[in-house]
Amino acid sequence: MLNDYALGGRERDLRNTADDPERAISQIVVVGGGSAGWIAACRLAAAARRSGSDVAVTLVESAKVPTVGVGEGTWPTMRNTLAKIGLSETEFVRGCDAAFKQGARFVGWADGAPGDSYYHPLNPPAGAPEVDLAPYWQRRPGGADFAEWVDYQATLCDAGLAPKAITMPEYAGQANYAYHLDAGKFARLLHDHAVTTLGVTHVVGDIARAEMADNGDIASVVLADGRLIAGDLFVDCSGFAALLIGGVYDVPFRSCRDVMFADRAVAMQVPYDDPDDPVTCHTVATAQTAGWIWDIGLWTRRGIGHVYSSAHQSDEAAEATLRRYIGPAAEKLSARVLRIDAGHRARFWQNNCVAVGLSAGFVEPLEASALMLIEASMDAIADRLPRTRGAVDTAARQFNAAFTHHWARIIEFLKLHYAITRRTDSAFWRDHADPATWPDGLAERLALWRDHPPAAVDFDHAREVFGWPSYQYVLHGMNYPTRYPRPDATPDAALAQRWIARNERVRAEAMQRLPKHRDLLRAVREHGMQTV
């Protein structure tokens, strides 16, 4: 029986109408909770509200499957996502133990020598895209770091300053920023918002199987207790289980283990010694013998984890490395081990099912891409939701092409961090630097980027997930050897000088104006931020 479970009286037998191209997409079922599921549900429900459509969103999740809780670092895109779903930034910061993030500092990646570190800030280089400062930096006096020279955000990070003041409105800052957050609390906050404010129907139950329509679409999912949830579109956010995209459609998984070696992570939640300890305003990624350690600061604790390759280091040695990094504070803490199956689906959208989050793919969190990919997926789905079944196939083709491209570029960009290292102290780094392990095209690009800075023309899509500024921050941060044209031979020299001078002015003003990161977080918690 298909109609055991009533969802607002809108349940239908879709098996025989699924191939009607005019059938409206009005019931969307999100399978799986966690960050992906609740972001998906919120985005879809908020978009429906905004447009006045009658799309209804149901999220079904198992009570037995714990959320993986990966992704404690976001991109600045999260500000847009939260604003789009109508969540106040104050509520978000308070509810998710959140802190502000201004980029990442990579320690020991270039050569592993003492003092080896560089920033990848979230601000683009000054003047971008009007002028490219890289050739001027190359011949800079005094040998300043690239990120320091073309932007001021690294200075803020070093000083422990926040990217905004309490007088600035929600989602606005002096410097670009993202967040560090508690993923479990984030999912709970989104759940509450989705259910109480956005009208998402929440169903708790274990999915036993799917009912298929004649055209191969999923007509409904059937829960273990017999309840049935019908839908026009299914968003698979079931995590590594990939219940629909893998379990129903058996879409192949494309591993990238041959490129990205890390397949394990061991993580700990480390409370501050003193509640007033500074909260670091950037991710610290410190290279290790067979991987790297992330260190992020939240309001009440740090989240610290070691990503490593089990082919290069045992689990015991990896945990010992993590404990050594943390120091005495780790003695009473237990570690949590995560498996990383690096790669992604060959297709993300099949029939009326689209995979978002871990069911679509996962790769080590070196550039915090997990939550960003969820957001980008939901931007593509919610903002261009097919109105009818007939439009679904077009949307699927576009989505698959876009995200196949995005995944390729993400893997290439992450590999870049390893490929140009000069570390030779372990097989892990030597293997990564071996061009035989590089994705297609990286060697060619690296050859190009010896002579010319990464530029927009080097990339295929107008909206790349990692644009040329990110490539510049990594390449120049790691002192990749270059031989760019002399700056005095370029016509933009005066413009470049103006931007460099302006950057210095903004740096001085920001250092004067911005508060310590913890002081800002305290003010947000005590007083809240204003909306204007």
Partner: protein, 235 residues
């Protein structure tokens, strides 16, 4: 520059406080809720954010280009009324001082003119005045909180067109969003009226016309003339 000291009759016994000279070097001073109606006759009243909390508070705009109070001159104070906080800028709360007060010895309102700081060795009258002003300012902040909660505040910039063709902009100011106020549901309008929040919104908006008076006061005092002044609405 401030020079705070716990109030001490031995050190401050001969000093007087001239309220008319208070806030002489300030462009903005907080305004109490009870002062909104009288002050509108003289000066533009807006909202600004407290630097420590980010919360809105009603403020009086007293100056434009230079950090001076255009209503204060060597000859005295030139307006019908004065924000209570403006006359008390020399005083602070301090448990260690007489009657729980401290003074800012660098404040221009302290000196040889005005009312004595001490009467019979006590400064209780000043403490009462400060408490009353702070209480009214707190009520003003509560009013602003209510407007902010209802989404009734918007950014306003004061744009000065100087006679040399340059433009200067005063940011960090906010005003009542009239469209948002007009679009409020009936029940909210009634609730605001019953809470005496509606009339102040209209009065605050009406006060904005007083920016022209500031322009005139500025031009009467400074050689660099302001040719025109206008308010620009932000996001």
């Amino acid at each position: 520059m401030t020079r705070l000291r716990a109030l001490d009759p031995a050190r401050h016994g001969a000093l007087r406080l001239d309220r008319a000279r208070g806030a002489a070097g300030r462009r903005l001073v907080p305004v109490g809720r009870g002062e909104i109606a009288p002050l509108v006759a003289d000066m533009p009243l807006l909202f600004a954010k407290d630097a420590q909390t980010g919360r809105f508070e009603p403020v009086a705009l007293l100056g434009l280009v230079e950090p001076v109070n255009l209503f204060v001159s060597p000859a005295g104070y030139h307006a019908t009324s004065q924000p209570g906080a403006a006359g008390l800028t020399a005083l602070r709360l301090d448990a260690g001082g007489v009657d729980g007060l401290a003074v800012d010895e660098a404040d221009p309102s302290l000196g040889t003119t005005g009312e004595p700081l001490f009467v019979d060795g006590r400064a209780g009258h000043w403490r009462a005045a400060l408490d009353a002003a702070l209480s009214d300012v707190t009520a003003g902040r509560a009013l602003a909180d209510g407007y902010a909660r209802r989404g009734l505040l918007r950014r306003l910039s004061v744009v000065l067109s100087m006679d040399d063709g340059q433009e200067q902009v005063l940011d960090g100011l906010y005003g009542v969003a009239e469209e948002a106020l007009a679009a409020l549901p009936d029940a909210d309008v009634v609730a605001m009226h019953r809470a005496d929040e509606l009339a102040p919104a209209a009065v605050l908006t009406a006060s904005l016309a007083q920016v022209e008076r500031l322009r005139q006061l500025h031009n009467a005092r400074f050689p660099q003339q302001i040719a025109a002044i206008r308010l620009a609405i932000g996001d």
